[in-house]
Amino acid sequence: MAYLDIQNLHASIGDIEILKGVNLQINKGEVHALMGPNGSGKSTLSSVIMGHPSYDVTEGDILLEGESILEMDPDERARAGLFLCFQYPVAIPGVSISNFLKKAMDARHPEGKTPAGPFLKEMRENMAYLDMDKSFANRGLNEGFSGGEKKRMEILQMMMFKPGIAIMDETDSGLDIDALQVVSKGVNKMRGPDLGLLVITHYERILNYIEPEHLHVLMDGQVVMSGGPELVKKLEEYGYDWVREQTMATA
């Protein structure tokens, strides 16, 4: 039984069906990449896994450690071990990063309170690792942040919350090479037996920094092809048209 098991997942927004039977299994310790052309349903998949209220799951299931999470609210899913690195993190003006992180850590703590000393130490260490200035902790969450700052903030949260599964939704989009390197550094530090990673991306570029063991191609709401690292090279060389031809041939 996989740690995260997505079974025949169908989801729609309004009357439009976007996911049309997605199957995907991810275990802790594994790094998966999910690629696909625009409009294939990549971001929808990440939103549905996290429980975004705009989407309806019409068929199938999402199991975490064998238990369905479909009835769980996003905050319960997060506390159960899921994490989503947003493509477009929203700003919460006036809420400082340190306050926000503390509150989110408190929510995970069995007694509802994280001791402040160790929390601050860990936050500062992680910020230093991501080349974030100390003063950052007092800024409003994502308030006036550059694209690179927002993504670092997402990785910082992942490092603090230590999820079982992290989904990175196009984390590389809009990042310059320097920011991409820092973000990858943070992700690679987290890699290990306690984390399963799903890297959703449009470009191969990030996969040079975070090398996946598995690659899946999503097209028209379904995973149409899966393979190992060699598939990244093929995709780079031949593009999605080649995938279409291959799947047509097998169909």
Binding site: P53, S54, D75, I92, P93, G94, K103, A104, A107
Partner: protein, 476 residues
Amino acid sequence: MPEFDTDSDLIKEYKYGFFTDIESDTIPKGLNEEVVAMISGKKNEPVWMLEWRLKAYRRWLKMKSPRWAFLDYPEIDFQNIHYYSAPKQNVDSTELDPELMKTFERLGIPMNEHDALSGVAMDVVFDSVSVGTTHKELLEEQGILFCSISEAIQKHPELVKKYLGTVVPPGDNYYAALNSAVFTDGSFCYIPKGVTCPVELSTYFRINAADTGQFERTLIICDDHATCSYLEGCTAPARDSNQLHAAVVEIVALDHAEVKYSTVQNWYAGDKDGQGGIYNFVTKRGHCRGIKSKISWTQVEVGAAITWKYPSCVLEGDGSSGEFYSVAFTNNKMQADTGTKMIHVGKNTSSTIVSKGISAGQSSNNYRGLVKVYPGATHARNHSACDSLLIGRECSANTFPYIESEDDTAALAHEATTSTISEEQLFYLKSRGISEEDAASMVVRGFCKDVFKHLPLEFSVEAVKLLEIKLEGSIG
């Protein structure tokens, strides 16, 4: 009926909604010259004070209740109100009545010198009278006068005569005139030249008796180079009839004086259907009389069925400045029409307005503000920022900013925003493991941050907690 009906839902929601069963000295309902004289008599006032009251009363009779505010309420029957109600106390004892002590314990107000919050001197007004002031000795050492206004009229008549009604004249408006006629108590403080008040001065207002109006009068004078910080808090029992609270606060700041006035207003706001609650019709004004003087208002308004209140600053001294920081929260059927007036008269005067309105339920929350620059008030500066946050679809928010400038050298800036707590913000915070209620209160707290940071520390913690309680159940 048990003294504290703790099973009532009402009381669970508004934990200050209990009633203290204490024998009181209450005059019959109704208002006329005799009642005004009776109040004055109860307080053993000098003749000049009675004359001042009667003049105000006659003025009030000729005035009309203001209806320009964006508020909807029935005519108030001024003959159906008790204008004086005081708990009976043993006159020989300096100790507070044990029932009153219990009440203040429940309200979280330490009245023992012993338990008193270090750093806060407190005056408590219970219905129509002040029932005790703490830290008197410490203040006397510095020459600071802090007592009830009734005591000040007896002991410091020259100061009262000199300043009372000079910032808010009796004929200023309908409720100010009414207050001038029938005010029963309130706080008085005078900070002498060059003295920085070592503690926060605080008044706690409690309405207890039924069908009683509370008309308090507060007068604060900061002499040259003096500084003080004043806190005010208020609560009342939960009742299904409306009660009137019409206060007047006057502040005078002389040369280089600084006064910071903070309010947490948590009057009973009525129930979910808008039954009951306090009508809070208040006139607060500060007069920056001296050069480079400064008056700062910070208010957190979370209670009252109806709020009509515009703490203002008259900036007469050259180089003086006024500030107004406000959070107004309305829920259920509450209505608020609140804001400020900044009147620039002197040269190089500056003012800052930061207003945050939060509306939930079917409430109506309105900002009304005036920035006026008189001719000759050269290089006046104002910055106003008025933000509204809506929770749910049935509430409303309006902003009425008036700007009247008669001097070309003025620099005035106004910003206003209206927003809702967005689904994306809630989803983002929830995806981090934070519950929906905590997420919403986090967004609201962030929204209010620019105001809360101006409150004294303990007050700020209290305000955050209070807002969280008020938000419970208003999300979703």
